[in-house]
Amino acid sequence: MSEPPEQQPPAAAPTTSSTLTAFYERAGGFLVPVAATVVAFLIGGLVVLITGHNPLAAYKAIFEGTGLNYVFPWLSDDERRAAARDLQQTLLVATPLMLTAVAVAFAFRCGLFNIGGQGQYWVGFIAALWIGTHLHGVPRPLHILLGIVAAIVAGGIWGGIAGLLRATVGAHEVITTIMLNWIAIYGGVYLFERGGPLQAVPSLPQSAVIDDSAKLWVIWGDIQALHAGLFIALVGVVVYHVILNRTTLGFEVRAVGFNPEAARYSGIPVARSYFLALAIAGAFAGVAGAIDVLGFQFSVETSEISASAVGFTGIAVALLGRNKAVGIVLASLLFAALQVGTSSRQLDPAVFDPELASDLSTMIQALVIFFVGAELLIVYVWNARRYLRTRPTASQEPVV
């Protein structure tokens, strides 16, 4: 210990692997999702080629369908108008994805796998819808605020039920959140189906339309326009980052996520963290539902409830975005762009069959997830190896 401090001990031998892992994780945090996306598009291009189309032309058409070409300065006025409409749709789709992805990411940082984003989204949606259709004569900002708060509470309760079950009796959140999804979906169908308590249009399984005072402000466009929910979602992503990194709650959540036994040893109430993490995750997904209904849907039909997949796509977005705030925003945009760019009304059949296009989009999404997932698996195995080596005689105490 009395050696001069500048003399670095040659500790490289035992730490090379961990340094390598650290570097890999850091670089991989950005590189891998990008590489996975590129490779997925290359393979998608091959498939396009096999179907007898020009992949470059197909991708160009899809790209133009997303409206992302709006930023190019050389567009004509007509093209710019069309691009604007497409870009509005892309952003509209990306908005709830950001929040359902945060719902997955937040729980994940606590070591929990929240599959319940779909159910949490719908209870939030329905709660905001109820506020929008049952309160009247409330000033607009207040009405909107009440709708969102109702969604936060509903989503929080829905996630919190799974959290409570995990914290108290140890019921695994993957199972309980999936079950809660079906309860939310069938519960929602029951509410609005013919004869249901909230069915509002005679002979149609539909809700009433929310009051104008509950509608979010339009910020861009006219038909199915982009609404202020985009800002709410972005604020939500920032809130996620801040809770996680700048609050004691986030510290506890991360400690539990990395090492629940060390957290318990430090006096962090692990069970409470599980509950809070899932409740807060549910609240984020609930807000996603609120801004969809208050932003552009305004009412709901039972068929929409069972068809939606925004909660599940959130899992993929969180995975691709590496549970990072910026990553989630970018991954939401990618997934939304793929969805909008390949939707059948966007494509010229001469360039690529519209019927195949949405399959292509699904395929590319799946490939992206596959490659990101495979890489995570490699890092996981690598770390598990290191972990086994460093604690070979660890006892197997249950986590309380």
Binding site: M1, P10, A13, T247, N259, Y265, S395, P398
Partner: protein, 509 residues
């Protein structure tokens, strides 16, 4: 130099990216039927040298000679072909497969050209085990056998591939003292059978016990190779660390004050619902170190858990400075003035993926100055970490380095720094030097004695008698969940050994 060495390394150098020289012109030779120990602190370059020999790293300079012929070892496959086998610290076994299957893996006996011949495999393993006097069941699943037996499987794996040079990388690090003794017996048999063994270690006593010659590495350089005869622990420690090391801790007689930790009639159940601690009572007073000595698994872990609030005791009472903390949970126990260096720093002591700053804040992040109204101040955590890392001489990273990238000794210093900085009245130190090298052990021991002199009450739980003798002012022996004896500083190792194995109690009964 020995006559006609089976293996020679000449001038091996290995540099890592970033300019760290892990091996600097190291010479090493191994005689036939010899146990040659490679001794050095963590990070001295022992593993690097062996990884070069085993073909995992290519050397930047130097040559390897096997049986007098110069060889080029590019992969473990080449090494095995040259008769070199390596048992890694972390075992490379497949838990779901049987012992026999693991041993023959990648060189399985077959019948009909393609089919795995299970009978032949078992027979060969049995023959091998008989020849080298190994007690092992070839049908047992690796997942179900003890760590010591898994190690034997690894050794058999090397022998099965006709290794005549065996590299053992810190083989005792994962073993209990009893298992280590058994390993040494096995090594003696192997040596008689003509095998040559390279034994990597940083434990002085076992190196002296097992080896014929000892080569010491320090900071990548070979310091010397000496014969076992005439070597002493003090001399080896000096060579390893490069200066005098106090193997005996310098300490004044204790001046105990009032009891700060009082345990009364405590009983605790373990995870299986068995009574692991049975009606234990003792006090630890201010300014003394009380050691709880015992063979692993006699209730120490459950006792620590109950005293630190991690486990609810079945009955009895725990008081910290007069405050009843029985079954009050971790947070209240911490608040009452207790600190706890846990026995497993990776399982409990650290969140390996957290930065050092975050790890150092693990207990205190809820209160100012680390946070206020739930709002965390990361910059303050970093500033505090910077001070503690300097004060406790933690090397290998700064406040924002993840804990996982530090060496074991430095990780332990982080844990010790955090616990001592809480300014506790009672410090529970469970195996505080497990897996550390002499330099780090000396540091931790010195700090513990300093804390004692500050007037803290320290409960040391250790499996190593040497540590118990070095630090304790009073010694309690635990056997099958009961305190079976209290000893002063005049106790002998033999007395304690008998008490720890229950003999004393039987006699008294």
């Amino acid at each position: 130099m020995v006559q006609d060495p089976i293996l020679e390394l000449r001038g091996i150098s290995k540099r890592f990216p970033g300019g760290v020289v892990a091996n600097d012109a190291v010479d090493f030779d191994l005689g036939r039927g010899e146990v040659h120990a490679l001794l050095g602190e963590n990070g001295a370059g022992k593993s690097t040298l062996m990884n070069v020999l085993y073909g995992l790293y290519g050397p930047d300079a130097g040559e390897i000679r096997v049986k007098g012929r110069r060889v080029d070892i590019r992969s473990p496959h080449d090494a095995i072909a040259q008769g070199i086998g390596m048992v890694h610290q972390h075992f490379m076994l497949i838990p779901v497969m049987t012992v026999a299957e693991n041993i023959v893996l990648a060189a399985e006996p077959v019948h009909g050209g393609v089919f795995f011949d299970e009978k032949a495999a078992e027979q060969r393993v049995l023959d091998l085990a008989r020849r080298f006097k190994f007690a092992i069941d070839p049908h047992a699943r690796v997942a179900n056998i003890s760590v010591g037996q898994q190690q034997r499987v690894e050794i058999l794996k090397a022998l099965y591939r006709s290794a005549d040079v065996l590299i053992l990388d810190e083989p005792t690090a994962v073993l209990t003292p009893q298992e280590a003794k058994e390993l040494f017996e096995i090594l003696a048999v192997l040596r008689r059978e003509g095998l040559s063994i390279i034994f990597i270690s940083h434990k002085l006593d076992e190196v002296l016990e097992i080896s014929n010659r000892i080569t010491v590495l320090r900071r990548g350089k070979k310091i010397d190779t000496i014969a076992q005869e005439g070597a002493t622990e003090e001399g080896l420690a000096r060579m390893m660390v490069g200066r005098e090391v106090l193997l005996r801790v310098d300490k004044r007689p204790s001046e105990p004050g009032d009891p700060l930790l009082s345990v009364t009639d405590l009983s605790v159940y373990d995870d299986r619902g068995l009574e692991a601690v049975r009606g234990v009572s003792f006090d630890v007073r201010a300014g003394e170190i009380v050691a709880l000595a015992g063979v692993d698994g006699n209730g120490q872990s459950e006792l620590i858990d109950a005293v630190t609030g991690l486990r609810r005791p079945a009955s009895g009472r725990v008081e910290i400075a007069g405050r009843d903390v029985t079954a009050k949970g971790v947070r209240e126990t911490l608040a009452a003035g207790e600190a706890h260096i846990p026995e497993d720093r990776h399982l409990r002591g650290l969140v390996l993926d957290f930065t050092l700053a975050e790890n150092l804040a693990l207990h205190d992040f809820r209160t100012p100055p680390a946070s206020k109204f739930g709002w965390l101040f990361p910059q303050r955590l970093i500033e505090r970490a910077r001070r503690l890392l300097r004060e406790f001489d933690v090397r290998g990273g700064g406040p924002e380095t993840p804990a996982s990238s530090l060496s074991g000794g430095n990780q332990q210093k982080v844990v010790v720094a955090r616990e001592i900085d809480r300014d506790p009245q009672v410090l529970i130190a469970a195996q505080p030097t497990r897996g550390l090298d002499v330099g780090a052990i000396e540091f931790v021991h010195r700090r513990l004695v300093e804390e004692r002199d500050e007037g803290r009450a320290i409960l040391l739980v250790s499996l190593e008698l040497e540590e118990v003798f070095a630090l304790a002012d009073r010694i309690l022996v635990i056997y099958e969940g009961e305190i079976v004896g209290e000893y002063g500083l005049d106790a002998t190792a033999e007395e304690l050994g008998l008490a720890m194995t229950g003999v004393t109690r039987e006699r008294a009964a």
